[in-house]
């Protein structure tokens, strides 16, 4: 069993996995990582199951000391990770040694990085998940001086580097695809038109719970309030102000504002890396297409698991890559 020590926890450094399901009806948010794609790739690169917890580093990174030899990978936004003050390559597995210090020089591109540890983090599951939900203190909190156990790699050596085409692109402008509903009939024609024909800016008032945007007002027919119903990641709530709020990982489970639509999961990964000041446009797609995109996205992850993960030798991996090309 290996260990790491949190020397400085940074701004917001969290243990997260793919979320806590099964307890939303009791008011427990799903939480989990903000950028699922980067989290999954980080795990794949160190031969973990994609559901294993990673450490989500938000904006200003922590300082972490390794108390054992480990294999790690760092993906997501580029916060300039350093080992013993030397830059290291992201989207790649990396061997680190007992005593090494991981730190982050600062935000270069994107908002959040994911650190995966081969073998996984040995933290207790609470209600079937390792995710930390800060508002109710559910899960394992990272604090200064904390020691976290690492299960340790099954391997002595890993040399995985993801093909450049699979590295997620980070931008300050993007289109978000939206499935209308469930309360799109609460808006005027002009309101819906404004929503899809204007760009909206991400405000400073954005966090893991939701991104507040500002732009052309989205007009309701009558009221902005509904009898509270179920809410989830991706929901675009429009309160009386007519300004959208996109719900993110720490979204509360119920809400009383009208939801014009839901942003598709794949595009939320992109949004999770965008900073205040970034601009988004909404594009409507039918649910059939949204489901097709989602299934393809999950299948692509499965494919990457086969290529980079599992217990394959370097030679087998090369063979797979050749097969992929032809």
């Amino acid at each position: 069993m290996g260990k790491i020590k949190i020397i400085n926890k940074g701004l917001l450094t969290l243990v997260e996995d793919l979320g806590r399901y099964g307890y939303q009806k009791f008011g427990v948010p799903v939480s989990g990582v903000m950028d699922e794609y980067s989290h999954k790739i980080a795990n794949i690169l160190v031969d973990n199951d994609i559901s294993e917890a990673t450490i989500e580093v938000n904006m200003l990174g922590p300082k972490i000391q390794f108390l054992s030899n480990e294999i790690i990978s760092i993906t997501g936004g580029n916060l300039q990770p350093l080992i013993n003050n030397e830059h290291i390559e992201m989207w790649k597995s990396k061997k680190v040694s007992d005593g090494d210090i991981l730190s982050f020089k600062g935000m270069k591109n994107g908002m959040r990085s994911y650190i995966a540890f081969s073998g996984g983090l040995n933290v207790k599951k609470v209600m079937q998940s390792k995710s930390f939900y800060s508002r109710a203190g559910i899960g394992t909190e990272i604090v200064n001086g904390k020691i976290i156990e690492i299960n340790g790699s099954k391997k002595n050596y890993l040399n995985n580097k993801i093909d450049e085409s699979y590295i997620s692109e980070i931008t300050d402008r993007t289109n978000l695809r939206v499935v209308l509903g469930p309360q799109n009939d609460y808006f005027t024609g002009k309101g819906i038109e404004n929503f899809f024909n204007n760009s909206y800016e991400i405000t400073n008032n954005s966090d893991r719970m939701g991104y507040r945007l500002k732009g052309e007002k989205i007009e309701h027919k009558k009221r902005a309030d509904i009898i509270s119903d179920g809410l989830g990641k991706g929901a675009v709530q429009i309160p009386g102000t007519g300004q959208p709020i996109i719900m993110m990982s720490d979204s509360q489970t119920t809400g009383g504002y009208t939801k014009i639509g839901y942003v598709i999961k794949k595009d939320l990964d992109k949004l999770a890396q965008m900073k205040p000041g970034g601009k988004v446009r909404f594009n409507q797609i039918p649910i059939s297409e949204a489901q097709k995109i989602y299934v393809e996205y999950l299948k692509e992850i499965e494919k990457l698991e086969k290529i980079y993960g599992s217990n394959k030798s370097f030679f087998e991996n090369v063979l797979d890559k050749i097969k992929k090309i032809f």
């Binding site: 008011g27 179920g230 999961k265 949204a290």
Partner: protein, 239 residues
């Protein structure tokens, strides 16, 4: 009753019942939720039951939007043949000694004993849980004890505190800031991750406050500490 099926993204479905806050509608939500749980439709990952809707989370790799709706409709049509447990009433022993109890009595021009009697004489339906883990949204409190919430919320309300806000009554599951008028406290723990079932309450069931004295409070508290307190509950009929 005609239900509406509305998308909530590529992996969510909102089933909308008649849009109103009523015990009858909420019991229909509960019935469908239980029926769906029993049916084991592949791909359903979670459900959120609220006042008059049920949100289903599902995996579109396992089931498509259309197919999911077809399956739910099928189950809904057979619901009358299904054996669904009656809702039950959980007893909440409560020591009525809250900091605002006197204010609530004065505000409504009644005595403290009358406040306690009115508050503890009803079975309250748990319409849904939300806001914080385990927080119950209860319905049907008497107008006779209705009191507006504090203008300035207190920075810390102890877990277990029983409060009133307007026509609503509720219990704070854990220590949180809050603006409800506090009239009492229960030794029961509504939310405890150390328990096998962390939640005491569930939507669609009822609760009833039982007035206890300080001695009884301490006794129950002691039993909870030693893990040998048995929750008292009884079944009641559907609305």
């Amino acid at each position: 009753m005609e239900l509406k099926y509305l998308p909530s993204g590529e992996d969510g479905l909102l089933i909308q019942f008649e849009k109103k806050i009523s015990e009858k509608v909420n019991q229909q939500v509960r019935k469908l939720e239980i029926a769906l749980k029993k049916s084991n439709i592949p791909g359903i990952t979670d459900m959120i039951s609220t006042y008059c809707s049920l949100k289903i989370d599902y995996n579109p790799m396992k089931i498509s939007y259309k197919k999911l709706i077809d399956k739910i409709k099928e189950i809904k049509n057979n619901i009358s043949n299904m054996d669904i447990d009656k809702p039950f009433v959980i007893e909440i022993p409560t020591l009525y000694n809250g900091i605002d109890l006197e204010f609530v009595a004065e505000y409504n021009n009644i005595t403290i004993d009358e406040v306690i009697y009115i508050h503890s004489s009803k079975e309250y339906l748990i319409y849904m849980l939300g806001f914080t883990p385990g927080f119950p949204y209860l319905g049907g409190m008497s107008e006779k004890i209705s009191t507006p919430r504090l203008e300035n919320p207190r920075s810390k309300i102890q877990g277990g505190s029983v409060g009133i806000a307007g026509l609503q009554t509720g219990i704070y599951p854990v220590d949180t800031p809050g603006g409800w008028r506090i009239i009492g406290k229960t030794p029961l723990k509504l939310f405890d991750t150390g328990r096998e079932n962390p939640f005491l309450l569930e939507s669609g069931n009822y609760l009833k406050f039982i007035s206890i004295n300080k001695k009884e409070y301490e006794k129950i508290e002691e039993k909870i500490k030693n893990n040998n307190y048995e929750i008292k509950k009884y079944y009641r009929d559907f609305e």
